[in-house]
Symmetry: C2
Subunit: 390 residues, 2 copies
């Protein structure tokens, strides 16, 4: 096991009706910026519950945070937050809204061009405290310090990470996910699955607790994901998906082990260029990456096949066993309704080869030339991966 | 899944050499009470490393905290802490020292008889902050708010729990366990195993993440425990045991599921009366309790057998399968060198029946008359359990 430090400061408020606990957790003189997305929370009743919980506090609303939240939109929220002197941000939504809240929190007291927080890793001080009300289980953003923001003007999708912007509390009420479109559940389950894979599918370092926790989350997503699509109002199923997605990226399973994240880095460019959903990009890249990196990841790919997918590999060569495991991953994604080839998606008029060239260019521009747990995924390897994913 | 709230405030500093990070985590004007046990840390070099890390701070030492820390000893530490106006407690040791530190932390500013914190659940204010340097993986005390203290004068072993006395940081350096006597590793592994069982072996509530995390810890303890005895200086083995013991009782696996703790409550009286090691009492009580509660715990006992011990139960009736699983638990404890019958231990001249009478009397006196996840373990059932454990 590798050395590590770990603490997770977010208080999880899990279950039916937990929204009621929010008011106790706000500052005494709270001036709240209520940040949300496209307005679905007004249709499904969550908005009303949140306003009831905030009763008595000064509330400023900012809606319209889009999926893959844009710098252009968030900077408007920053200005509003400054103008109203808010001292707390309550993010109500999925990972995009919560990621957006983190950027707003960091930018409000930032002296200079806030894009530098993302582009140059600029230091920031006195970020606003954040709370989260999760409506879409997927990214784990509700209990980590990660934020990814897209600048539309330049098609750049960049991230920053700081525990100073990690939510102080997160309300996880599975009922809030009942009215989600199926596509969001599909994407969320695939996203959480790949978050686990990024921290698990590397090379063994004799860390059985981390391995087994990761495998437990993967097995649960494989079992519960399809049920989540078939029975949208099964509370337990949604609860298990929600807790899986949070545990997938709250830091725990990745401590003391190597991490990969190449699938994410390559996928981000697909979203930045062609506006594919985050999970769609992961479903495209991961199986191809597993194939190209099969030698480096051999032991863990076979462990994934055996322990998570229950494959026995009877009579199979090692190469066949690896292929079987990659096929199982692909089948799981497709079964969840998320396609796994670039040709399945709208590349806005570009040919597949043009798209690959543009992705490679963008990765080069953003310095993503040594990806993966060994730093051995250079642009040539990335091209191999994308070619397999055509 | 049941509703829950969860946060764990302890920063884990895991791995070789992490003691160096301690000085950064003390208050600026730290006046440290250094609390430890019998002095083994002076022989194995840990004491010197701690003093080096504390360099520049005012340090007051209090040694002699015994296994199953006594109120009589700890109250002396409270007096010393008051006299020296310490503002931080650094506990260096196992669960006993850390449990003791929590009591001292709570008692220092307590106005009245500190025993009331344990006996009457009295509220306390302004507890001192605590840090922990763990030398014995077992109790999980390094990252929870639980403390158990024994009053020798009355043979009472009582606990309190508050996150206000939970350590702010915990150094987990597996090398610090290399010089432990084998018996301590045996006890630690059994203790951690039963901590998981108390939160797992109840009844199913459709919480697969919690189940699988629990099973992952149990499997790891079963695999690594014997290796820990055979190869005391295998870093990875000790690291895996250490991380297992912390994860077993840091709150995570018990959230959203029912919990039992009857084995602990009954076991505590065996320690209070006959000074048996905590783990020894658990190894005595658990198999008998599983037998008596087999109907209530049926599903989870069978799941334990299949998933953790890998039993196939081919051709077995349900009753036989349950018996096989209980036998596997007993064999694991015995294999770790921890005996599982009361008759294996020194009951200080009492007969087995006298001992049972005294345990039942004590449980009655301490109000432990409705134990277990259903509250259905009354004194008659406890007598059945103890009779099976003779």
């Amino acid at each position: 096991m590798l050395n590590f430090t770990f603490k997770n400061q977010t208080e999880i408020l899990f279950g039916k009706g937990q929204i009621k606990k929010v008011s106790d957790r706000l500052p005494d003189d709270a001036r709240v910026l209520l940040l949300y997305g496209g307005g679905s929370i007004k249709k499904n009743g969550i908005y009303d519950q949140v306003l009831t919980a905030l009763n008595g506090n000064e509330v400023t609303e900012f809606s319209g945070v889009e999926p893959n939240p844009s710098y252009e939109t968030l900077i408007e929220a920053v200005e509003l937050a400054r103008e109203k002197s808010v001292n707390f941000i309550l993010a109500v939504g999925g990972g995009s809204v919560i990621d957006g809240a983190k950027f707003v929190a960091a930018a409000v007291n930032f002296d200079g061009e806030p894009w530098d927080i993302l582009a140059k890793g600029a230091s920031f001080y006195d970020p606003l405290p954040i709370g989260a009300v999760l409506t879409l289980p997927a990214t784990g953003s509700e209990s980590n310090g990660n934020s990814v923001v897209t600048k539309k003007a330049t098609s750049q999708k960049l991230g920053f990470s700081s525990e100073t912007v990690q939510p102080q509390f997160a309300v996880l009420d599975p009922e809030y996910t009942f009215s989600l479109p199926k596509k969001q559940i599909s994407n969320g389950v695939v996203d959480a699955f790949v978050h686990v894979i990024e921290q698990y599918l590397t090379y063994p370092v004799n860390a059985p607790i981390q391995d087994r926790f990761a495998e437990g989350i993967l097995q649960t997503l494989i079992e519960e994901g399809p049920k989540g699509l078939a029975n949208p109002e099964d509370y337990d199923v949604r609860a298990n998906i929600m807790w899986s997605a949070t545990m997938a990226l709250n830091g725990l399973i990745g401590r003391g082990v190597p991490q990969d994240w190449a699938t994410h880095m390559i996928g981000h460019e697909l979203t930045a260029l062609y506006n594919l959903d985050h999970a769609q990009t992961l479903a495209i890249v991961l199986p191809a990456l597993m194939q190209v990196q099969q030698e480096q990841k051999k032991e863990k790919i076979l462990q994934l096949g055996r322990r998570v997918f229950g494959l026995t590999f009877t009579g199979a060569t090692e190469q066949q066993a690896i292929r079987e495991t990659i096929f199982a991953v692909t089948q799981f994604f497709e079964g969840m309704g998320v396609k796994t080839k670039m040709s399945d998606y709208d590349l806005q008029g570009d040919t597949l080869d043009q798209a690959i060239d543009r992705i490679i260019d963008n990765l080069d521009k953003n310095g993503m030339t040594k990806l993966g747990e060994h730093g051995d995924i250079d642009l040539a390897k990335t091209r191999d991966i994308l070619s397999l994913a055509k």
